[in-house]
């Protein structure tokens, strides 16, 4: 129980939400996404800017419509933790945190829960190959991610990777490359109820009509994730052409995985362009100032 807040009265009821008569819940249909403006391979528009947190060595803010998160990088600074022995390499310490109000369900903010812990670990594994830690002996770089609004688990992690690597570059830390993150969900496509006429049956008739169609949706949002069969998150260094992290869940055939890995790498190249632009903008701004 949260004692700090005044709870609602005991006899409260859920508000009545009136949907318009023609309101239809979204279900996955071929080529049609939750956001009808997007194509399956489209990402949400990305807003990325450096320098949100003035006290940090480097920082970045990223927004993919309803996925919003901030990242602050501190350091390199001396290792504070007692008991950590001498290390000739620097340490990348990531801390992933959801704001209490970031998800549908309120999160307790006191300690990192197992999911946040794991995300922190994934984040540091995804970034470590890019940071030149051998140049920073006995020091630690702290990366703090705070998710302000989460719309899709995969896109949240992907955005965190993207923002963190931009923040690291903004902090002036030597890196081999920027790391771009991208997520994709794949789901079974039920033929849309209205158009199951001749058109669809003839097109799917060429293949086996019994096997369900699998569609890959890039950068899925929460609504789409509800229907997903599985998801994939990929972190990629575009100019070195190296994958720094890969995470997949859900059942899938090999070709689907291969396809989604390739789609994600393509998308990462697009994300890279945004990152590049954001860093150049930050340079221009600091010159004007």
């Amino acid at each position: 129980m949260d004692r700090k807040r005044v709870p609602g009265p005991e006899l409260s009821v859920a508000p009545l939400v009136e949907y318009p008569i023609d309101h239809e819940r979204w279900t996955p249909q071929q080529e049609k996404r939750h956001d009808p403006k997007r194509q399956p391979e489209d990402l949400r528009p990305i807003y990325l800017k450096t320098g949100l947190i003035s006290q940090a060595s480097g920082s970045a803010y990223i927004e993919l419509e309803n996925t919003k998160l901030a990242c602050g990088v501190y350091g390199p600074r001396p290792v504070k933790k007692i008991g950590q022995g001498f290390s000739g390499m620097g340490v990348l310490n990531c801390d992933f945190k959801f704001a209490t109000f970031a998800c549908v369900k309120r999160r307790n903010n006191t300690r990192q829960d197992p999911q946040e812990k794991e995300l922190s670990q994934i984040l540091s594994q995804a970034l470590a190959p890019a940071v030149r830690l051998e140049l920073l002996p006995k020091s630690v770089i702290d990366v703090y991610i705070t998710v302000l609004e989460s719309d899709g688990w995969g896109s949240c992690l992907a955005a965190a990777i993207t923002a963190a690597s931009v923040a690291l570059a903004h902090a002036g830390i030597e890196m081999l490359d920027l790391v771009a993150g991208c997520s994709a969900s794949y789901m079974q496509i039920g033929p849309s109820i209205s158009s199951t006429t001749t058109e669809t049956s003839s097109s799917s008739g060429a293949g086996n009509p019994i096997t369900p169609q699998i569609q890959i949706f890039m950068d899925a949002d929460t609504e789409e994730e509800k229907y997903e069969q599985g998801a994939i998150v990929l972190a990629y260094m575009p100019s070195l052409n190296e994958v720094t992290h890969l995470l997949q869940n859900g059942k899938a055939e090999g070709p689907i995985i291969n396809q989604s890995v390739e789609h994600c790498m393509e998308a990462c190249n697009k994300v890279y362009a945004v990152m590049h632009h954001a860093l150049l903008e930050s340079m221009k701004e600091s010159k004007d100032a």
Binding site: S57, R77, F86, K138, A169, L176, S239, L240, S282
Partner: protein
């Protein structure tokens, strides 16, 4: 003048290793040179004609300095005991650190000669500002520093009475207020 075209981000390919030498802010991988920081690309001519120019990237946001071996650091004495003086490293090679790094000056590293006669208490006092050189990365906690050179040692200190000290010899300093002489390992004024 630098143009936008010279602005680079980490991972951007800058040239071939046969054309340039690897300078600050860059690294070589296989046959190419890449940028490793955000900044402006600069080509530095150096040495004779048959030497390759250096490819460097001038940082836009400099990373906070961290101590390296042989770097000259400025630090503040926080504790002394008969074996060593503990210091907080505040500046490395003229660049300030955002967070203080810990270092120690061991009794045998205070000066180059007559090492066995050195007494820490007659060399440093808490509060002194010391110029020193990093000799090793040290243990898990502290860097090891040395003041065994003429230009290294106390550069600023306060006397017991509260006046500032001025060096009068390499191991004595005088209070400007009370003219009392206190013992220090002084740095030769530059």
């Amino acid at each position: 003048m630098a143009s936008v075209a010279d602005a680079v981000v980490p991972g951007q390919r800058l040239g071939h290793v046969q054309e340039f030498n690897v300078g600050a802010g860059t690294y070589a991988l296989q046959d190419f040179i890449y940028a490793s920081v955000v900044g402006l690309k600069r080509i530095m001519k150096q040495g004779g004609d048959n030497e390759l120019p250096f490819m460097t990237v001038q940082r836009e946001n400099s990373q906070s300095a961290i101590p390296e071996i042989e770097a000259i650091v400025t630090c503040k004495v926080v504790r002394v005991n008969p074996r060593f003086a503990s210091v907080n490293i505040m500046v490395v090679d003229g660049k300030p650190c955002t967070d203080d790094f810990q270092g120690i000056i061991r009794v045998q590293d205070v000066r180059a000669t007559e090492k066995d006669k050195v007494k820490i208490y007659n060399s440093f006092r808490p509060g002194d500002i010391v110029r020193a050189q990093v000799i090793s990365l040290g243990d898990a906690r502290s860097y090891y520093l040395s003041t065994a050179a003429n230009e290294l040692g106390v550069i600023f200190g306060t006397s017991v009475a509260g006046g500032s000290l001025v060096p009068i010899s390499w191991q004595e300093m005088q209070c400007t207020k009370t003219r009392v002489i206190e013992l220090r390992k002084c740095a030769k004024p530059l």
